[in-house]
Amino acid sequence: MATEENTGIGASVLRKEDRRFITGVGRYTDDIQVSGQTYAAFARSLWARARIDKLDTGVAAAMPGVIGVLTGAEMAADGLGGLPCGWLVKSKDGSDMQQPEHPPLAHTHLNFVGDAFAIVVADTEEHAQGAARALEQSVEVTELTPVVSLADATQSAPIHEALTSNVCYDWEIGDKAACKAGFAVADRVVEVELSNNRLIPNAMEPRAAIAEYSTGTDELTIHTTSQNPHLVRLILAAFVQLAPEHKLRVIAPDVGGGFGSKIFVYSEEVSVAWAAKKLRRPVRWTATRSESFLTDAHGRDHLTKAKLALSSEGKFLAMQVATKANLGAYLSTFASSVPTYLYGTLMAGQYATPAIHVEVQGTFTNTCPVDAYRGAGRPEATFVVERLVEMAARQLRADPAELRRVNFIKPDQFPYQTPVALVYDTGNYEASLSQALQHADYAGFAARQRAAEGRGKLRGIGLSCYIEACGLAPSQLAMNLGAGVGLWESAEIRVNPTGSVVVFTGSHSHGQGHETTFAQVVSSTLGVPFDQVEVVHGDTGRLDFGLGTYGSRSIAVGGSALIRASEKIIAKGKRIAAHLLQAGIDEIDFQDGVFSVQASNQSVTFAEVAFAAYIPNNVPTDEVEPGLAEKAFYDPENFTYPAGTHICEVEVDPETGKIDIIQFVAVDDFGEVINPMIVEGQVHGGLTQGIGQALFERGIYDDNGQLITGSYMDYCMPRADDLPNYVVDTTVTPCTHNPLGVKGCGEAGAIGAPAAVVNAVTHATGMKDISMPLHPEKVWRALQRKRRAA
């Protein structure tokens, strides 16, 4: 537990933000009341695929309390643009990906169940909902045959008439010929077919938006549940063309979790803002959980064939991966990048596999759009690599830990150029593996297995040695690969005359605790007391442009920007101190909040310098400008590469198929750690989502494209009594290219965990493979089949 005294970098400081949340005075979007507010509801497609023949709004408009019914056709007539996809991926043949039109409100075709085609605004939520339901019943449509199954989609007729097929892109990375050569000389080839189950993000706070239009100033203010309010503003201004950027203010106040799902710009938020401007009334909307299930961008959903070539000594020679990735009905904001540049580029894992070739077909189906969800591409990549490696170990009758060890990239091989574009700056995979094996008492497993056998239980242990590319991203590199935005981050530090500090960051906190960790960083760097550092984020009206929070980028990119801004503050502070102390600038040192003259006892405090900056009595303002505020924009040189080993130990009851996680060990290398308590919490949460994917969660559509798992009754969320206490530890190999030596920790748990769980369960049961989620019934049936076959 943190002590009052230690609030510096590396201390488990208790969170500043907690008090408002535990006393119920947090301020989430739906908590905000605006005078004169009206309520929006959406009329949505009940069909997976249909053409709108006639939409008569007369009846709905005449219903009680209805203020306006606005349709997709009116939106199009107003000249609003579609929702863009921010990453242009090219196919093998060099052609651009196919992009369907994505109007915020559909006006000709409906492409998934939940696709919004009209917004109703009324005096109460009930009235708005009533009219929206009436529209859904009265809209005249021609139902079209939906394409739902990912496996069949590439061969089916295109769901979008303007496209030539359902293949968005047919992408590849790596050297196909080299890969082929590797397989040609292989002693052994391990093959696998895997599915990566569709997940529904389920941040506990549903999406919401409140838009207010000021006629006098022509300003449009939107409070919304976003992980990156500036990106929302940019897209609304530049692409949707709802209002010019300088007339738009987007505020993301307290946000109740995101996990990726609140990165994107969705139909509803855009429509609410448009309606507010059009009707000249404040309009509010909060998703019901049912709407969240239907429309929050889903995650994962891959079908993959992969193979690994090994030498007789068990060295990996080559790896070949072919994936079909479901993109859903439209391209969500970053959808195209997730199964390509955040997936294929990670296939080296922690291993020195010399040749790798990855092919991915991004595919349209009549389902909710699929985009980044915690881990985004990297969990899918880890699952492929770590399932293959585990199978290889079983086939070779090798110790899975040992097989991994011999194939690791060794510490002296960094920086390491992988065959799939990335250059890992640093790492020590052996260290995290050894530590994890120790925590898991790997050596004692055989005895525990025997003991379990005595109790009629099948016990298994599974490893997952994952890597991720985080700290998105070097702008130039990302843009060369098709990104539509730079991925730097901004920071501003304003020192007040009394010496307290306000920090403005473009990163966004929706559970990560930046108000605490960022204050730790600035307090340590400037020597200002922790409680005198205030962190401000999430408001385009208060801070410079920012790129927001996703891809575990906040501390690595946003934190680095803070360091750069602090350095500028210190540099200016030195110039002021030099005047106050009547010394040369080169003679001034700064440490622990004190400016001092070298080899003397003369000094001034940071607070005194701040005061002098604003009340420049002894500071000539023609030499040093008054004031003490600095900005920095930090663009990372490379991605960061957190990596680690997760070990899961399970017992399976052969009579019921029930799986108990007996132990779960995670040893992660996040580089330097600012607040170990918060990092541990991030790991717990990530692991739980990873275990959720492995054991419980799956978004399922029926053949007609109806979402079967549309509520907490049908979509199984991990609960407290499903889970063990995790054993979490870290190793530290500092990142080599950012000033804090940090790598990021937000996604690791979700990336490493699924393979560890499946490896443990297949180990316990002796099955070759079993698809996620490992529901007891599925496990039981597989065990029965195995028993019959034996």
Partner: protein, 158 residues
């Protein structure tokens, strides 16, 4: 219809439509937005409050059903500056991240602690079955509930 509610020790007379849910009165009329709504099937527990001392999902109760009763919400727990032991424990154990599930968790936890004095970890895990948290993985919540329960006991005997 007319109802009388005492919420966090303040008496209210309210005139609400018959079908108004308790959570709607709390968040709407009374502006007590600490009680959250996380689902529409009564399963997430974000809306848990105490009605006459017992935890209730306020999204499943009509305001009318609470007529004449005492309601305590997350806003009513702290005594001025001094936090309830369960609130204190949630902070000390880092049992919250985004904070959205937290009010419901704390209200459920207090009821759990009051009902079973010798609370075990397994009982806490089972007892929180009706509260979903997507952020924390529950480990620190469980720790906090045990610590908060001890804190409540200590406060009761001091």
């Amino acid at each position: 219809m007319q109802i009388r509610l005492t919420v966090n020790n303040t008496a209210h007379q309210l005139d609400v439509p018959d079908n108004t849910l308790l959570v709607e009165v709390l968040r709407g009329e009374l502006a007590l937005t600490g009680t959250h709504i996380g689902c529409d099937t009564s399963q997430c527990g974000a809306c848990v409050v105490h009605v006459d001392g017992r935890s209730v999902k306020s999204c499943t109760m009509l305001a009318a059903q609470a007529d004449g009763q005492e309601v305590t919400t997350i806003e009513g727990l702290a005594d001025g500056e001094s936090l309830h032991p369960m609130q204190e424990a949630f902070k000390n154990c880092h049992a919250l991240q985004c904070g959205f599930c937290t009010p419901g968790m704390i209200m459920s936890a207090i009821d759990l602690a009051q009902r079973s004095p010798g609370l075990t970890e397994a009982e806490v895990r089972r007892g929180l079955e009706g509260n979903i948290c997507r952020c924390t993985g529950y480990q620190n919540i469980v720790k906090a509930v045990l610590a908060g329960a001890s804190g409540m006991k200590a406060a009761a005997t001091s």
